[in-house]
Amino acid sequence: MYDTVIIGGGPGGIAAGVYAARKKLKSALITDNFGGQSLVSADIQNWIGTKSVSGLEFAQMLEEHLRAQEGIDIIYPDLVEKVEKISEGFNVITKKGEKLETKTILATTGSRRKKLGIPGEKEFDGKGVAYCSTCDAPIFKNKIVAVVGGGNAGLEAVLDLLSYAAKVYLLEFSDQLKGDPLTQEKIKSDPRVQIIFKAKASEIIGDKFVTSLKYEDLETKQLKEIKLDGIFVEIGSVPNVEFVKDLVSINQFGEIAIDHKTQAASQKGIWAAGDATDILYKQNNISAGDAIKAILNIYDYLNKK
């Protein structure tokens, strides 16, 4: 039986793994990737101690640091499907069918990109519907595209696309953009950008590939249609908590509610840290620090038992 099983391979999970190993806890870490959401970042400039690092290098740094530890089982690539309560702790069951018995669990599962959840989105995923502008923007050279979401990620996507696309629509649900004012200025000054406020994307239409996007004008309640070739979805993220949702309390935003002093979740024996929790600020450095807090508290808990 493990002392602790850490779920997730972002900065939180790795920090936890390093501390768990140094505390000589019998531990395992389960993840399907290293680096978390920053993996696809072109340049990270705020990871403390590192002036500039690409997402890929960041992921490699984390993986190396974890693999340098002794006494932690790394289960990769795999995903946790389910956690069951047993009398002495928990059963952690993975997608590939591994079953781990453990006294405690630390969930550092982060969050994933939110989808629109409208007709056509799934059908045309990869066929015009895209979620990674840094990856796929060049494929839309001379095409007409839309970005849904006027936050920072949406504005960045518009910028990525402006290097290639013929025209970029930006659809925002509210009546103003929320992203960085500097980026806003850049976007607004480009004649190829058309910003549509109070727009609620409602349906994606296509044949083999996307051909148009329908949206509701929330002002007039009219349904409108834009002819286009691509849609980039940038509407925020949703915490990865499905595997523990029946065991711990989850807040209205789908985040695991934790005690902010110890990182403990409502179920005894489960801790959580990082973007999957109800913290105010979602940051790599904070995830790492909070996950360390959790391991130190798990260590105290196991020693008091």
Binding site: A42, G126, K127, C135, D136, P138, I139
Partner: protein, 82 residues
């Protein structure tokens, strides 16, 4: 793989992380590959879309078998890497 008898092509964009991961995976496993940068090469872009019926990178072509994205397990299987 001692002698590579499969033809491997990868369609990439310069900013795509999973493309870089796939190429590193090939290098690590001594897989020879030909790279097509679809940000520059329009013909390759059309070929990629045609082959994969989709518009995301990376697309990997191993002897005509098409892989979208970087799935290490699937590539290992296709290239007979243990």
């Amino acid at each position: 793989m001692e002698q590579q008898n499969k033809i491997v092509k990868i369609y990439t964009t310069p900013t795509c992380v999973y493309c870089k991961m796939a190429k590193e995976f090939f290098k690590k496993n001594n897989v020879q590959y030909e790279e097509f940068n679809v940000a520059e090469d329009e013909k390759a872009r059309d070929a990629m879309v045609e082959k994969s019926h989709q518009m995301g990178v990376p697309v990997i072509d191993i002897d005509g078998e098409i892989f979208v994205g970087f799935d290490q397990q699937a590539l290992k299987k296709a290239l007979e890497i243990k």
